[in-house]
Assembly symmetry: C2
Homo-oligomer: 852 residues x 2
């Protein structure tokens, strides 16, 4: 990038000062062309390889050898351009990062435990050490994130969902964010707060893929293709979870559910390949580090597989699923409540805005005080880390029943739950209750953190509680076919963990993740039932945590259609499209163009019509292109040209004064510069600001030039201002020359009769931002993400009387009878419609009435 900038500057320097006396009209054209192509323009790999290919090797003796080497190199480069190389590299990197991060986190947690243990004599010092450790790490994490860019805050899944939806959020995929996320996440998780690793890891994997893609583009220009880039990102999001949990299948499925709205089966293998490689490498590293003997599941369970559960227990699992669903919805609600409370209370907001690190510190102190093991923490098993807690919940012994514990040679963490004063039910219940609000609070801290593991742990505890209750209810187990089978509370913990995390994230694939995590699949059906029911319940009450975050962050995202709302098939595009489309016509003049650009619409493309009368849609043009057109007409080069010709005319006049009279005015060279153009640019949206800055440098005069210009004007003319205005007008009245304008010749079109359901599908499938509504080639409206969002959120109101056009009720009866062919309409109807509504623009009162 540095090279590019330098080249750019060089180029400008050379042209601006070296070629100053050149024909400036030609220069302006060149410049405009350069600007338009600049974004995509860089010496491509093809060109580079071409330049590599044909050097003058004939003059040396080793010519053949060199050309052979070159061919090898070319072949290698072609190989590296293949997808699978990229995916394997990505998998290896992510496995390594995940393992390294786990190492760091474990180290931090062990340090905390060690300090805590070595200060066993003094409770106060223990408390200080316990809290300080957490506060220092969280403060470092928050501070580091602040320092390097706040885009690393939070889980990153909402942002990835938005990016994979096709919206460009460049800042979220930079190298800086990567460093911030990796370092801050390690320290945040090392603090022992109830935070998760998986969400940020999805983001980290995408960051890694983006960086790798940028690096690999050296080897093949195919990495610059946008579609492919998105495909790679979606494979990377699968890698994130897989490398976290060593769960390749669950990772792929979770990433599809959590980040995608639509999924190309063609990409399936990409996710699987990368996820498997990363999971494998992650586990192999653990084996090499002699942590483990061989590759096994992360949270291995040892349930009996001969008779896993009785049919009657399915009912208990179903109830557990429903309860988890309610809890999950509550969690999302609570989390949003905290967010909104902090955001909407002005005093709190201002207070924390000034002292940005104070909020995480306060939250950390609160949580770590409550979890201090010798204090209140002893009633909720706080001496265990999240991982140890999970292992203990999945234990296949029954805690509430003393004496039934069989002897296994694996670590037993159940001591943490068997408090001498209170029984298991109380400790588990307290754990669920306290962790519930603590987790909802902790994930609002401005550090990189996920919510998956916290909800997973809470769900496991909740399931364990349910299981222990069942075991207490049927102390002898369930009688079936002459044999009595004991109840396994650990199995309920497994189902609970999957159900709650599924309910919070609105995914079904948590079931697969838990099978991969525990290494046992014998509870397939109970877990599936619990997860599905939890999803049903949670989805009826609340959006998923990620969608909730998207709403809070106001990211440009398309909400999902809820289930079971059949009226979505009956709402048509014409019910929610906007009829007030800003457009330009082929025969418009620069003034129209300027007006349209000043209108301050939020969309980055404008419709191009054949004429206002026919309204035939020819295509769409990007706002930036139009700005370039205006700048070319009124910009610096033309002013410079004017100055030059002015000076020439002045010299001429000094020699032959009488010659000037009428010639100059008719010449194109006397066209005047308008300073209000600057104003046009300032009203454009933020998105194009980068491009504008570049443009700015071209057509804004230096102060010295301005003075010279004013001087040249005032020299021979008594009313320069009047003249300027006159010429401005004449300039703006010229018809626009679209010749060098890049247009998109086939923007996506919908029909009035398209249903909301189909529109949503289209927008999801094609990752659209907006679509024009046409009727036999004529533009009659537009649907952008905004309108669609409104229509979906208020789909029930749309059915009400207010928003409905008068003919809607009639239409419903008809549409139900010919649902299948609803898209096709009789031609005469379309013509009639068109005739009755020829110019549905804002300034026409008839249409605005119809809208309101």
């Amino acid at each position: 990038m540095a090279g590019l900038n330098q080249q750019e500057l060089q180029y400008e320097q050379t042209l601006m000062y070296g070629h100053y006396t050149q024909d400036l009209g030609a220069y302006a054209k060149e410049e405009a062309a350069r600007l338009r192509e600049k974004s995509g323009r860089r010496p491509s790999a093809t060109e580079r390889s071409l330049s590599l290919e044909n050097p003058d090797y004939d003059n040396g003796r080793c010519g053949k050898c060199c050309s052979c080497m070159l061919r090898c190199k070319k072949f290698l480069i072609a190989c590296v351009g293949e997808d699978w190389i990229f995916l394997i590299l990505l998998g290896l990197f992510m496995g390594l990062i995940s393992w390294g991060m786990d190492y760091g986190i474990d180290y931090c947690l062990h340090a905390q435990k060690w300090v805590y243990m070595s200060l066993e004599n003094n409770v106060f010092l223990q408390y200080l050490a316990w809290v300080t450790h957490a506060v220092v790490l969280i403060t470092f994490s928050a501070g580091f994130t602040q320092l390097l860019g706040s885009h690393a805050v939070g889980s990153g899944i909402p942002e990835m969902k938005t990016i994979l939806r096709g919206v460009v959020l460049k800042e979220y995929l930079t190298c800086k964010t990567f460093v911030a996320k990796v370092v801050s996440l390690t320290s945040a998780l090392g603090s022992g707060m109830p935070l998760g690793k998986e969400g940020p890891f999805v983001h980290i994997a995408c960051l890694c893929a983006a960086m790798l893609s940028r690096f690999m583009s050296v080897f093949g220009n195919v990495y610059q293709n946008k579609t492919r880039y998105i495909e790679m990102l979606s494979a990377a999001s699968a890698v994130g979870l897989a490398s976290c949990f060593a769960a390749p299948i669950g990772g792929v499925l979770f990433s599809i559910e959590a980040t995608g709205t639509v999924f190309l089966v063609r990409n399936y293998w990409r996710g699987f390949l990368a996820a498997t490689i990363s999971a494998l490498f992650f586990r192999i590293l653990a084996v090499w580090d002699t942590e483990e003997e061989t590759i096994t599941a992360l949270f291995k369970t040892r349930f009996s597989t001969d008779f896993p559960f009785d049919l009657k227990e399915l009912l208990a699992f179903a109830v557990l699923g429903i309860a988890s669903g309610i809890l999950g919805a509550l969690f999302v609600y609570l989390n949003r409540l905290i967010f909104e409370f902090i955001r909407n209370q002005n005093f709190i907001k201002n207070f924390f805005m000034k002292r940005r690190l104070l909020y995480p510190v306060l939250v950390t102190i609160l949580i770590s005080t409550l979890t201090f093991p010798p204090g209140f923490g002893q009633f909720m098993g706080s001496q265990l880390t999240q991982k140890e807690s999970l292992l203990s919940f999945f234990d296949n012994r029954t805690w509430s029943k003393p004496g039934t514990a069989e002897d296994y040679d694996y670590p037993d963490f159940s001591y943490a739950w068997k408090h001498p004063q209170v029984n298991v039910f109380v400790t588990l219940g307290l754990f669920v209750f306290m962790k519930f609000w603590m987790s909802a609070l902790a994930i609002t801290m401005p550090v990189p953190c996920g919510s998956f593991i916290p909800t997973f742990v809470i769900g496991a505890a909740f399931g364990r509680l349910a299981g222990e209750c069942m075991a207490a209810w049927f102390p002898d187990g369930i009688y079936s076919d002459g044999t009595v089978y004991p109840i396994v509370p650990g199995a309920y913990a497994v189902a609970g963990a999957a159900a709650l995390s599924g309910a919070v994230s609105h995914t079904v694939s948590t079931a697969v993740i838990i099978f991969e995590l525990t290494g046992q699949i014998s509870y397939l059906l109970p877990v599936m039932i619990a997860v599905i029911l939890a999803n049903v319940v949670a989805q009826s009450f609340q959006p998923s945590l990620y969608d909730s975050m998207i709403k809070i962050k106001k990211l440009p995202y398309l909400p999902e259609l809820g289930w079971g709302h059949n009226e979505k098939y009956n709402i048509r595009v014409k019910d929610f499209m906007t009829r007030d489309v800003t457009y330009i016509t082929l025969n418009c003049c620069y003034r129209d163009l300027q007006d349209v650009l000043q209108a301050g619409d939020h969309l980055k493309t404008l419709a191009l019509l054949k004429s206002s009368q026919s309204r035939i849609l020819l295509g769409s043009i990007e706002r930036v292109e139009l700005q370039a057109v205006v700048s070319q007409q009124l910009g610096r080069p033309r002013r410079l040209e004017y100055l030059r010709e002015r000076a020439a005319a002045k010299r001429k006049r000094q020699s032959v004064v009488s010659h000037l009279s009428s010639e100059g005015i008719s010449q194109k060279a006397t066209l005047e510069v308008r300073f209000q153009v600057n104003q046009v640019w300032s009203s454009t949206p933020r998105r194009t600001s980068l491009c504008l800055q570049r443009l700015h440098s071209i057509f804004c005069l230096e102060p010295s030039e301005k003075k010279a210009m004013a001087a040249s004007l005032s020299l021979h003319d008594s009313s320069p201002r009047l003249q300027i205005e006159e010429w401005e007008e004449s300039q703006l009245d010229e018809p626009v020359d679209f010749d060098n304008c890049k247009i998109e010749p086939a923007p996506f079109q919908l029909v009035e009769h398209t249903s909301l359901h189909k529109t949503h599908t289209m927008f999801s499938l094609l990752r659209l931002d907006h679509a024009y509504v046409t009727s036999i080639g004529r533009l009659i409206g537009m649907v952008s993400l905004k309108e669609l969002q409104k229509a979906i959120d208020g789909s029930l109101e749309v059915k009400g009387a207010k928003v409905r056009p008068p003919m809607a009720s009639l239409r419903d009866v008809r549409s139900s009878s010919c649902n299948i062919e609803i898209e096709a309409t009789e031609l005469h109807k379309l013509w009639d419609q068109y005739n009755s509504r020829s110019l549905p623009r804002k300034h026409l009162p008839s249409d605005s009435d119809e809208k309101s």
Copy 2:
């Protein structure tokens, strides 16, 4: 359906004879409108419920009670319209069908075994019984399928893939096909041939969903929505596999991979819900039937989970995966070879075409003779059924090592493989070899059959063979960290089964299926590695078995893009689009319309342009619509009208003879009927034939009418034929009246610069059949499925010199540098292009040259 037909007839009767003396011009319009709406037209649920809603209940005393009941009924109906009710019903049905079918199959297989065992004294009788059983059942299966409709033949997955792609293959989703498939499949599988249940079951589930959908449309018109119908079918295809294997997750994933090209995450839960319900019910039925004690996996394995495998074994699994991939590709190739041999050898083809049942009988005799247990079958474990073989392969004892077998209390089928004369390697090897070609041959029989289970069994045997080899190679197991761990050949069988079935079907989800089938997931990573490698290898050599079938059956399907062909990003629409688009213009006359319809294009829609000069695309019209327009102009009603007016004129002339001279000719009533219209219809594609038959009945005259007409013409005119022709001409020269024509106002449009990759994505995503290529509103070409198929299949040739337009090489360099914005083009280029190529139709030599 009967009701509809009756109503139709009634309607016709009433109108044709009852209203005969009515104004026939108005009638013709009515008739045309009726025809257009007929397909979708049936009393919708809304209308019905409306008619139910407001009856005259006030005259009774129980009015309130009745209205309350009606409201309840309405609520219930609304409930039934919900998706989840449908999905649960579907799941229950399929669980029941699957269980019932398994019961039937088991009964058949047991009968075979019983007869075989009871004839133990006479080998010849045994042989006769063995072969007869198989032949009778297969013959019945083939005959029954023939009888009820040959659409039930084969697995049905290729057809479902095509249907879910958006192509309507109505015959595949009828009640008849359902009965044929269920009955024939049971008897085919009961014969003991190496056939599978899963493919047909996917089809059966879709049939069930289609029938249920038709039934449920009584309760809500939402079931008539096409999008929803497709969504339900795709959920149903997940149910098929889930109810077969009690593998809900694997079922969903397999159905996504095998039948879909694109997947809406929104539909995810549908598949999971239905699949879980069906799997659950399928297993619960088994428990109720006291087959099983509780719900467990179908092919439960009992591998040790403490140390499942050593890292070094991963290499062996990888090799197994690669070998399975090669085997899988070979299987697809062999299967296609057999198909093509039978199809292309004229003698064989004709021979078997005449004796349709002979082919399956011959194949059955061959296979059952070879597998006769006392004969050659003894060397390949033929006394075991497919299920027993699978169970034996997944056994966790090592066969090649005597004495290490631990004592378990589950059935041991290993005796079948331990032949006294030959060792285990030979029996396993023979089994793999023989079953390989037998299965490839068996699935060519014209009975409902799948290929999944056969390849699964062969893969398991192959894996077992590899495992036994490993165990023989390392008889003491693998030394690691001071401990020696034995090799588990059963685990290799598991990996082999997943890998081979994955290679044949090109799916990764077979890994998930096998975990659900065996109830153990501890071999997650080895199996994943084997499956992914098998897929990589198989996909590089051959298409999947389903795609191969699609090609053999020549179904209209879009092939997948292979992987790693980066040049797909550089092939543009203009390289493969057809410039010869048949279109009609707004100002065309009936003659043009007729010409276009006679041209015999294969597409069912035609482009509507504003005029031939501007070529602005206004929309597209279905062929059927246009045919209706022509029929209206030249059809029976007008002829009848003509007859009537003729008769009136005759009567008039008889009274005032001198009055006739010049008036009649100018009148519209004297327009003549053209009989060649019939010819138009006969040249149309088969698809619309149903509709045509209906149309036929309107505008073809009865013989008696013809006679009357000829008589009326010959009465007063000496040259009726000349007059007819003259009037035909005048009739055809009239401009077409499109007023009552339904047009699709926004057909899908592409741009010349769209890449092949993106076009493929669009076609997949939107299930397109064709797309118009436009340039600033002008039609310049068209891409249909056919062109796209050609472009993908010949993508490498497209890069060659022949197909490429001259500017392509220049474009490549440019496109690589501005890949991102390639869709947008400078306006002047588009205009220039348009000007230089104003009429790219067939009859212009310039364009046809460019094409060739």
